[in-house]
């Protein structure tokens, strides 16, 4: 393409473009808008930093939990009763011309849940620190007591004489074998029985992730067919995060006391509201679950059913949501940068003070630095202190910088007040849960009204 313009014309064209970029309000708006978009890049890296630190915290907590012991879920005690079933096969013998009848005996198991299951749980909790991160851990003593009623499997089509009484045992399933601190002894009527682990790789039951503890064979005379069989078991666990119990008793009660001040009651059943007490020194809670509250029976054949969905208990979590708060505040970074640039842009347009794009960029970078300061300080302090330190530092920095570039005390004070109001507004939104949308909407409406009021006299066409 041949250039038909003279060098003079080319120079005039270049000057015109350069002049437009320097004086036009539209050009300045485009440049400021582009800078806001550029500043999304450091903001996205800050978001990713917060996510990375948060993952790191989860890793450290998981590592602490691995060493100390995982969450505690107890499913038991369950009476395991072997019983015989028979199958007949007929084989025709060609030579004798008769049928040969063969009877095979099979050994199956019935799993009987207790009639009453009471558990008294005492939890001594503390926090373990590693680096900047901490995890809630606990030592719990769980005392179980209750009784099995005389076993009658006639309803299931099993005759009493087919039950192999001298091979009966008691099972307890749990998630946390590693955390068991003391020998477990079952007291059934007057006898004591020890437990051992019962690992079976061929076991295809649904509770694969639950480890099984099985008692020695119960003496036949301890399983009365006329009277209730009373039992008691005491267990002691090191655990983290959560304690759960599956309410397998026809009537199940659990009483939990702890020195943990921030319990979260989880699972299918909540504690009794009238007896529940939560203070700064700890909590006390009682549960009572009746058989009509859950949809499973007291006797199961051949396999222990997966009843994890019916578990209830308490979560012991450190309420560390510093990263979540930082993440939420960083999501408003776009708004903070946009509104701050808007203030500078309005000052520039109304007062005819020239602000270079580089100066905008510096202000934008200072605003993004707020979030790295916030994350790093909040790892060593609480969120409010971190927010205050980061906020005051950034507001002071931008105020001093704006004083030197605007050369006007009034404007720099206005910027200081605006930024303080903006950061306060964002903090309030982060803290509020139910009213965040309402306060956020009203705040943005007020900001829009102020901008409309301030910019009403700007001559946009002749800028």
């Amino acid at each position: 393409m041949e250039n038909s313009n003279t060098p003079q014309q080319n120079k005039q064209q270049t000057n015109k473009l350069s002049n437009w970029l320097k004086t036009s309000i539209t050009a300045r708006m485009l440049i400021v808008g582009f800078l806001i978009i550029i500043l999304l890049i450091p903001l996205s890296y800050i978001n990713s930093l917060i996510a990375e630190r948060s993952f790191r915290q989860a890793d450290v907590v998981s590592e602490i939990n691995d060493k100390w012991g995982h969450n505690v879920l107890v499913y038991g005690p369950i009476l395991k009763l072997p019983y015989k079933t028979y199958s007949e096969t007929k084989t025709y013998n060609e030579t004798t011309k008769t049928y040969f009848k063969e009877t095979k005996t099979h050994m199956n198991y019935a799993y009987i849940f207790p009639e009453r299951l009471n558990s008294d749980v005492n939890v001594d909790s503390k926090t373990l620190k590693r680096g900047n991160f901490e995890s809630a851990v606990f030592t719990t003593t769980m005392d179980f007591s209750g009784h099995f009623i005389p076993t009658d499997l006639n309803d299931k089509g099993i005759k009493t004489e087919d039950i192999v009484w001298d091979k009966a045992s008691v099972l307890i399933q749990t998630t946390n074998l590693k955390g068991i601190k003391s020998e477990m002894v079952l007291h059934l009527n007057s006898e004591a029985y020890n437990f051992q682990t019962n690992f079976n790789s061929k076991d295809d039951n649904h509770n694969r992730y639950l480890d099984v503890l099985e008692s020695n064979f119960i003496k036949a005379e301890d399983l009365s067919d006329t009277e209730n069989d009373n039992f008691s078991i005491s267990m002691s666990f090191n655990g983290t995060q959560q304690i759960d119990l599956i309410p397998i008793g026809k009537t199940t009660t659990m009483s939990m006391t702890s020195n943990w001040p921030d319990p979260s009651f989880v699972g299918n059943y909540l504690p009794n509201d009238e007896t529940k007490e939560i203070t700064k020194e700890g909590f006390k809670a009682d549960w009572k679950v009746l058989h009509i509250n859950r949809a499973f029976s007291q006797q199961h054949l051949n396999k222990v059913p997966n009843l994890n969905a019916f578990a209830f208990g308490t979560k012991f979590m450190v309420m560390v949501d510093e990263y979540q708060k930082s993440e939420r505040s960083a999501k408003y970074g776009f708004l903070v940068i946009g509104l701050t640039f808007l203030i500078f842009f309005l000052i520039q347009t109304m007062s005819k003070i020239d602000i270079h794009p580089f100066q905008y960029l510096m202000i934008g970078l200072a605003l993004t630095m707020f979030y790295t300061l916030l994350v790093s300080i909040s790892e060593h302090s609480n969120f409010l202190k971190a927010y205050l330190v980061a906020g005051i530092s950034v507001v002071a920095l931008i105020t001093l910088y704006s004083k030197s570039i605007l050369r006007n005390f009034k404007f720099s004070m206005f910027i200081c007040a605006s930024l303080t109001a903006l950061y306060t507004f964002i903090y309030v939104i982060i803290q509020l849960e139910n009213y965040a949308l309402l306060v956020g909407s009203i705040g943005l409406f007020v900001i829009l009204a102020i901008v409309m009021f301030v910019s009403r006299k700007i001559d946009w066409n002749n800028g």
């Binding site: 250039n3 313009n5 978009i37 996205s44 990713s48 993952f55």
Partner: protein, 102 residues
């Protein structure tokens, strides 16, 4: 007064940079929900073709116009500057932490 090819080249280079930077920023900040990676790659290919054509025209124009060599060289330099920037942006997308790239 017609816009000359050097000015067109400079505007194309500037627009390519601005649009590319905007796409990168939106992609990094909002993720693939807003900017599809395929869309961004399509943009890169289209920008590459347009810039290449304009680049060739600027060079030919510079070679065959007597008083225009310096300006053509400046335009070519400006357009070529987008190459390392594009490579940098590409690495930023690839190496951006905590994202699931296919």
């Amino acid at each position: 007064m017609k816009p000359n090819i050097n000015q067109i080249g400079q505007i194309v280079a500037l627009l390519s940079f601005v649009l590319g930077t905007c796409l990168l920023s939106f992609y990094l900040f909002f993720g693939e929900d807003l900017i599809n990676l395929g869309f961004a790659l399509t943009y890169v290919i289209i920008a590459l073709i347009i810039n290449f054509i304009v680049f060739i025209v600027v060079i030919i124009n510079g070679l065959f116009t007597k008083n225009n060599k310096g300006e053509a060289l400046k335009t070519c330099g400006l357009m070529a500057l987008n190459i390392p920037i594009a490579i940098l942006y590409f690495y930023m997308v690839i190496l951006f932490p905590n994202q699931n790239l296919i």
